[in-house]
């Protein structure tokens, strides 16, 4: 049960980022800037929390920072049609360095920041919940609420269909009078909000501190989940829980005397195994004909 609880705590930030990423993927943009966005959001959550007081201010700052980041991504990749890989990787590195500079500016340190006055996000504790579900952060429950809402929108609304239209056949969508670019921007904004919450969860609930590089590849694992699910929410969620479980198991094994460096490898190894297994079972599924991804051509670096 402890493992299950740890899995939920690990999977929550992945879930936010993967859900946001799955939608942008549906519109034809594989958002590989998640790692940088999450790190930036973690920092701004601490900044808002510390300077403005209260976890809500922290989350608001985190979401604002992540939105700005995703808008920049949209401006470059959607409006200017630059190469997503170049832009995504550059933004990841940029976020890393900007956070360092802001750390030095606001907290006069480059390593990490921790302060007792930081208010954690509230925990949901209800008497009827079993022990392993009791006292989880509101953000963990929020992730499941977001999942339910997004699943419903994805399956049952016109908006959900248009998302797929933007990715599968943008000419058809455009001739139906909907701007594919606008759909892409909308998913990027949704993604911005979700990744913002994920980042805030990491620094003001999971850890209660900011440590440089604290997103620790979570953004990338979320991207891997999106690729694992090929933009479909169901499979993406399966991927998220698989990878969350691996992270939780890695930490659990540590308490049994295994070297932390070895057990921390688990989720990364599992990502590779999962992607390979999926590809073997469903040959060609990831690059199914008809799925045009004009802005994420996998190997074209035409500039």
């Amino acid at each position: 049960m402890d493992l299950l609880r740890a899995t939920l705590r690990m999977a929550a930030p992945l879930l936010y980022a993967a859900l946001g990423g799955a939608w942008t993927q549906q519109t034809g943009i594989l958002n590989i800037g998640q790692e940088g966005a999450m790190l930036l959001a973690s920092f701004f959550a601490i900044l808002g929390n510390y300077h403005l007081g209260g976890w809500i201010a922290g989350v608001a700052c985190a979401v604002a920072a992540s939105l700005a980041y995703n808008l920049l991504f949209g401006l470059l990749c959607v409006t200017l049609r630059s190469n997503v890989w170049v832009v995504g990787m550059t933004l990841n590195v940029l976020a890393d360095n900007v956070v360092m500079i802001l750390m030095k500016y606001f907290f006069h340190t480059k390593g990490g920041f921790r302060d007792p006055s930081i208010v954690p996000m509230p925990e949901v504790s209800l008497s009827f919940l079993p022990d392993w579900l009791d006292g989880l952060s509101i953000a963990v429950w929020g992730a499941f609420a977001v999942l339910a809402v997004m699943l419903w929108i994805d399956r049952n609304t016109v908006f959900g269909m248009r998302l797929k239209g933007a990715g599968n056949n943008e000419e058809a969508l455009a001739s139906a009078g909907v701007s594919p670019a606008r759909m892409r921007y909308r998913t990027l904004l949704v993604n911005g909000v979700l990744v913002g919450i994920a980042g805030a969860y990491l620094s003001t609930s999971y850890l209660l501190a900011f440590v440089s590089g604290m997103s620790a590849g979570r953004g990338w694992i979320a991207v891997a989940a999106v690729i694992f699910g090929d933009g479909r929410l169901g499979w993406t969620v399966v991927g998220v829980f698989l990878f969350g479980l691996a992270q939780a198991a890695g930490i659990e094994l540590q308490s049994h005397g295994f070297s932390s460096h070895l057990t921390l490898m688990l989720p990364y190894l599992l990502v590779i195994v999962a992607l390979v297994a999926k590809q073997w079972r469903l040959p060609g599924r990831l690059h199914a004909p008809g799925r045009k991804t004009p802005h994420s051509g996998e190997s074209h670096t035409k500039r």
Partner: protein, 348 residues
């Protein structure tokens, strides 16, 4: 044609303008920080090139950066998104250190050669796996190589803190490599060593390969459109694998030289992200070898001098990376806009 010069060198002009504009932007940032931009940049140049010792330190700093830039440029130029160079660098470095620790009984020159070769080999092995999965199974190489990075870095960290931890346990360093294996330093202050010539030879070789060989031409074809390259009779798969191997070899060499030439031991903090810097620089120069080398040298000067700047004006060294990242964004945006303008003019 009236604008033929501008048209022919369009990308290069965009690169230079973008870099200049980012420097100005960096200056604005410095001013916001409450310092004088010109004085800050001047302290940067002084710190990097102020006297003979400073130049040697800067050169030592340039070695891994130039190697990393070239490593990424050759991979991207061949259409292989090798984001895993950091992991390849760490594995290469550890392989070289292992030779120096466990095979220290061998004669000197052989040790050095073996260490460098094994370092490059280990890196190439670590790149071969994701490259194969990507080329033959269509898996996403970016995610694969990122995962390989984390695994390689954790693995070498485990080795350096566990089985191969040095006498100063838990500090994340191995024992020093055999005396005979070390490349001697040129001066007492810095770590510049004979490795710079090995690195220069490797970089020039790969640059020539990219510019003036059939392979280089076919790599560019694969980057533009691997499917079309296949129709044109190019063996795209093996060409792209070749690009990936060349990239990994350079990354491994960078790691091995850091061990054999600079630190004489493996450290878990060996690389402050050299290959990420290299990636940014390669992307800024659109994977052009000569421009990439130039950019890497400029970056080495800036980052070497940034320490002096941080002391003088309290502006963090990370500013240099931010400036270069902004330049990349300007270049991609600029090229995208220029492409569209060109198309529009053609259609009119």
């Amino acid at each position: 044609m009236k604008h033929s010069f501008a048209r022919e060198h369009r990308d290069l002009i965009i690169i230079i303008l973008s870099f200049g504009f980012s420097l100005v932007l960096g200056g604005v940032f410095i001013a916001l920080y409450g310092a004088d931009p010109l004085a800050a940049y001047a302290s940067m140049i002084r710190g990097a090139l102020g006297d003979g010792d400073a130049v040697l330190v800067t050169l030592a700093r340039a070695v891994p950066i130039v190697l990393a830039t070239m490593s990424i440029a050759v991979a991207f130029n061949g259409g292989m998104w090798n984001i895993g160079a950091e992991g390849q660098l760490f594995l290469g470095a550890f392989a070289a250190a292992w030779v120096g620790i466990d095979l220290g009984f061998l004669p000197g020159p052989l040790l050095t050669v073996l260490g460098l070769a094994l370092g490059m080999g280990a890196a190439m092995f670590w790149a071969w796996m994701p490259a194969r999965l990507s080329l033959d199974k269509g898996l996403n190489i970016v995610v694969l190589t990122i995962m390989c990075n984390s695994i390689a870095i954790l693995f070498t960290t485990w080795l350096a803190t566990g089985p191969y931890a040095g006498a100063r346990a838990n500090s994340g360093t191995t024992d020093r490599i055999a005396e005979a294996m070390r490349l001697p330093h040129f001066h007492a202050f810095g770590t510049l060593n004979w490795g710079i010539f090995i690195a220069a030879a490797a970089v020039l070789l790969v640059a020539l390969w990219m510019i003036a060989s059939v392979a280089g031409y076919e790599w560019r074809c694969c980057r533009m459109n691997a499917t079309f390259a296949g129709y044109a009779g190019i063996d795209a798969r093996s060409r792209r694998m070749q690009a990936m191997m060349a990239s990994a070899a350079l990354a491994g060499l960078a790691g091995a030289l850091l061990v054999v030439g600079d630190h004489y031991r493996f450290l878990t903090t060996l690389s402050p992200g050299y290959t990420w810097t290299g990636m940014i620089l390669a992307m800024m120069t659109a994977d052009r070898p000569v421009a990439g080398i130039a950019a890497a040298l400029i970056y080495a000067v800036m980052s070497s001098g940034a320490l002096e700047m941080e002391l003088a004006t309290d502006i963090p060294t990370e500013l240099v990376s931010v400036i270069v990242c902004c330049a990349v964004l300007f270049v991609t945006a600029g090229v995208a806009v220029a492409d569209r303008l060109a198309n529009r003019i053609r259609e009119d």
